[in-house]
């Protein structure tokens, strides 16, 4: 056991400041353990959002020494001996209190996009899909909605004005997931991502991929293929003509 200095931002929408805590740290602990100890012993009203403490629910997102992270998956041995640990709330979303932010932006964006469209000709129990075909979408369904990708994305991180037209990486992988779903009945997922979700704002800096605790290849496997296919469809005269004549199917394979 050793003692460590934690600097935790405390405040609300009207403002706040860092509070400093000297707190015990035991072998094998993660940042969230130490935050809980601060709560139990020094600041019972310290606001922190968490649920599972096992990296499965995506609730305890915060910025630890400047890096967007899940507090439950940030082990204390990551820090050098004696290095203070500074925790601030996610910067992209409004503060509710202390380390808790208002993440309703993400739910509003999810609320705006069309959900899975079941095929009209298949009854429950009749769905047949190959493992290799569902795996592409399954990668994106690993998302635990921690919103670290949304928080780190520079399109909205310091640009409140971009929030209305831009849904962010979390919703791009949702669009890609539905686009690649073998039985989704809609055929306009890519166009919707471009036109309604603001896919065009993304300039592929891969910051979202870097912070994803589920290691989803957001940029390479979702955003880039979606961009390529939108571009391909829009500017290839044959595809354009085909779209005018036939309803476009979902059979073409993704880039890469």
């Amino acid at each position: 056991m050793s003692t460590r200095t934690f600097r935790v931002w405390r405040g609300d929408a009207e403002g706040g400041d860092f509070a400093e805590f000297d707190v015990a740290v035991n072998e094998g602990e993660v940042v969230l353990d130490v935050v809980h100890r601060i709560q139990a012993e020094q600041a019972p009203d310290l606001a922190v959002r968490w649920n599972c403490k096992a990296g499965k629910c995506g609730s305890c997102s915060a910025e630890v020494n400047g890096m967007p992270r899940l507090m439950c998956m940030t082990r204390m041995n990551l820090f050098a001996d004696g290095e203070p640990v500074t925790i601030t709330p996610l910067r992209t979303f409004p503060v509710v209190r202390d380390l808790v932010t208002d993440v309703s932006f993400n739910y509003e964006k999810a609320r705006q996009m069309p959900q899975f469209a079941p095929p009209a000709d298949l009854k429950p129990g009749e769905y047949r899909m190959q493992q290799v075909d569902v795996e592409r979408s399954q990668e994106f369904r690993k998302c635990i909605e921690c919103f670290l990708c949304q928080n780190t994305c520079h399109v909205v991180r310091d640009h409140e004005e971009n929030k209305p037209p831009f849904s962010g990486p979390r919703l791009f992988i949702r669009a890609a997931e539905l686009d690649m779903h073998p039985l989704d009945a809609r055929d306009d997922r890519r166009e919707a991502a471009q036109d309604a979700q603001g896919l065009g704002y993304c300039n592929i800096t891969k910051c979202c991929t870097e912070v994803c605790p589920e290691h989803i290849k957001i940029t390479d496997n979702a955003i880039i293929p979606m961009k390529e296919r939108v571009a391909g469809d829009r500017y290839d005269p044959l595809v354009w003509l085909g779209r005018k004549i036939f309803r476009k199917g979902k059979s073409d394979s993704p880039a890469g």
Partner: protein, 637 residues
């Protein structure tokens, strides 16, 4: 910081008033499935979520959802599933719930595909099914080892699609609302019928009163009353306690499932679940001497189904029809007790568990493909590479079989208009739940609860809430700010310590009496618990309010555990080993009588002759009194 919301007496104007046909308390799998059904029935629905939408404890379910679809082994059907469920629960289950569950689970799973769920597939493109403890055939629909996440996300997205349908149809947004980060502290009851609920929004501390003629409890379990638990912070027995205070009864509260394999090292992750799929996919348990010890722990009642030697056990993975199952896949209560015995006998691992070894039995590629989150969890939290070395595991408080006594068909409690589904309900799993039967349970009975709550709302006048009852609930919720007692975290730790030490996996009468005395001593301290700070997002205040729920559930468990002097499923009495056929016929029912918990005995419903006929008489004779199983012999003759 402003503490303007911290008025001791803020008055009725401070309370937001809402109304709906069906109020669903809890936004895990059962709650969301109930909400879907009630909305599809045309009712207005409010879902109260203690956490953010989509974060409920269901996300932590790993292995899968049990449903006898017969995709992997065509011999499977609902009768086999029913039989396995009854065996797992040691025949204490409400047989009708187990029957409905086994019959309806496949439809509930297939339906999820039409909502967009993407389960792993078989070679012919159907939903793949995996082996699990206590299930005779591969039966669990799964998505790697993150099945619960798939379930919750699918239902979450289905709710959104229903909201979008409403929007297109010009319905008001209030037809289906999810109110997140909100806790219900009280139900309002008049003349034996529910009429609404009171709660607070975590973010602001603002109060709300919701009037509703039908309420579905779907609040999950009680695991946070134990220190070593796989459960998330929300699991404070809220629904169990709300039901008790509303006049409903709880059954089988003595039966708590300690999952055999929780992480044991490092200390900060102690209790986090290691999915049973590790064993279903080939992992074995070894003690410090390297011995595969489960062969020494096959109980008499299971000898026909489980292999007694490693050669046969290993052949089972490739030829399940010609060989008996490995004993690592015995029901959870058996495996947990075996691990406990090995550790007690001094054959435990370095940190007080045993070893779970898949590294020496399967390739690294197989392990990372089948068990991606386990690989990830051990790598990141314990610095252990499970493809190269064994895991250290030990029992962790995982699930409560006991819960609100409900009608099998309708999920209705004894209180008119009050329904319960999922972990908060009791009866379905008897004395021990099989892995995989929880995700299917919450779909099957979540749907039924939503359906019958909607039906009840259709024939009931919209209720009115009185100012007095709202003011009383508000005063209760604010009391911790005026108290001058202890810190809620210290009190929770004290309660966890009592439960862990005296009401854990192995119990004794003297210790249970001691537990009741110690819990009683905690009561005035809990009544006087103090919240510091203001009302906006104040976890100390939230915990102060949850404590009384944890307290009620802990006392109900200790009382029932003391009363039942036999060992069965998730209740092991060292001073009363073995199952007693007389006790098999008895459910212990807890209710509140003048503010005090009281316990009563009640008959377990008798299985129909048709269902009894699914078992060999020789098997029934191991569980039942002669007159019970002989009645089937008469039928056979």
């Amino acid at each position: 910081m402003s503490d303007h919301r911290n008025d001791a007496n803020p008055g009725a104007a401070d309370v937001e008033h809402l109304a709906c046909d069906v109020l669903v308390i809890g936004a895990g799998g059962a709650g969301l499935r109930a909400a879907v059904e009630a909305r599809l029935a045309g009712k207005s629905v409010i879902v109260i979520s203690k956490s953010l939408f989509g974060k409920a404890h269901t996300v932590m379910a790993e292995g899968g959802a049990a449903a006898a679809m017969g995709n992997v082994n065509a011999n499977d059907n609902w009768q086999v599933h029913f039989r396995d469920t009854m065996r797992g629960g040691k025949f204490l289950n409400n047989y009708r719930m187990a029957e409905i569950h086994a019959q309806e689970a496949p439809d509930r799973i297939w339906e999820l595909e039409t909502y967009g769920a993407l389960f792993d597939r078989t070679a012919d493109g159907r939903i793949s099914q995996r082996n699990f403890g206590g299930h005779e055939y591969p039966r669990l629909a799964h998505v790697g080892d993150r099945t619960g996440l798939e379930l919750i996300r699918t239902l979450q997205q289905k709710l959104v699609s229903l909201q979008q349908d409403d929007e297109e149809a010009g319905e008001p947004a209030a037809k289906l609302q999810v109110i997140d980060e909100t806790t219900i502290t009280e139900l309002f009851v008049e003349q034996g019928a529910v009429k609404g609920a009171f709660g607070y929004r975590r973010g602001t501390g603002a109060f709300m009163a919701i009037s509703a003629p039908a309420i579905v409890l779907a609040t999950g379990g009680i695991g946070r009353s134990f220190k070593v638990t796989s459960n998330s912070w929300e699991y404070t027995g809220d629904g169990h306690a709300l039901a008790l205070r509303a006049g409903a009864s709880l059954i089988n509260m003595e039966f708590i499932q300690f999952h055999p394999t929780g992480m044991v090292w490092p200390p900060s992750v102690r209790g986090i679940l290691v999915t049973e799929s590790v064993r279903g996919d080939g992992g074995v348990l070894k003690n410090a001497e390297g011995k595969r010890f489960m062969f020494d722990y096959i109980p008499e009642v299971f000898k026909a189904q489980y292999a007694d030697n490693p050669e046969e056990a290993d052949r089972w993975y490739t030829d399940p029809d010609a060989n008996r199952r490995p004993p690592e896949l015995l029901p959870r209560d058996e495996v947990a007790r075996a691990i406990n015995s090995e550790v007690k006998a001094g054959r435990g691992s370095e940190h007080g568990g045993v070893y779970l070894d898949i590294a020496s039995r399967r390739s690294a590629e197989y392990i990372t493909e089948r068990l991606p989150s386990m690989y990830h969890q051990f790598k990141e939290l314990a610095d252990v590479d499970i493809t190269a070395e064994p895991m250290e595991v030990g029992p962790t408080c995982h699930y409560i079989m006991g819960g609100v006594e409900v009608d099998a068909e309708t999920a209705a409690s004894k209180v008119t208009g009050l329904y319960a589904a999922g972990e908060v309900s009791g009866g379905m799993h008897g004395s021990n739940r099989l892995g995989g039967n929880s995700l299917s349970d919450l779909l099957v009975f979540g749907k039924r609860a939503g359906e019958f709550a909607a039906e009840h709302a259709a024939v009931t006048e919209p209720p009115k809430l009185g100012d007095d009852e709202i003011a009383a609930a508000q005063a209760d919720a604010l009391r911790p700010f005026a108290n001058d007692g202890e810190n809620p975290y210290a009190l929770q730790a004290a309660m966890q310590e009592v439960n862990g030490r005296l009401v854990g996996i192995i119990r004794r009468a003297g210790e249970l009496e001691e537990a009741l005395t110690e819990l009683a001593a905690l009561k005035p301290r809990i009544d006087n618990v103090t919240a510091a700070g203001g009302r906006a997002y104040n976890p100390g205040w939230h915990l102060a309010l949850d404590l009384r729920n944890m307290y009620l559930c802990s006392v109900a468990t200790a009382m029932a555990a003391l009363e039942r002097d036999e060992s069965r499923g998730g209740h092991t009495r060292e001073d009363a080993p073995g199952m007693d056929p007389q006790w098999r016929r008895v459910n212990l029912v807890a209710s509140l009588d003048g503010g005090e918990l009281a316990l009563a005995r009640q008959d377990v419903p008798s299985m129909t002759p048709e269902l009894l006929g699914l078992f060999e008489t020789s098997e029934l004779s191991k569980y039942m009194t002669p007159e019970e199983y002989r009645s089937t012999e008469a039928e056979d003759a």
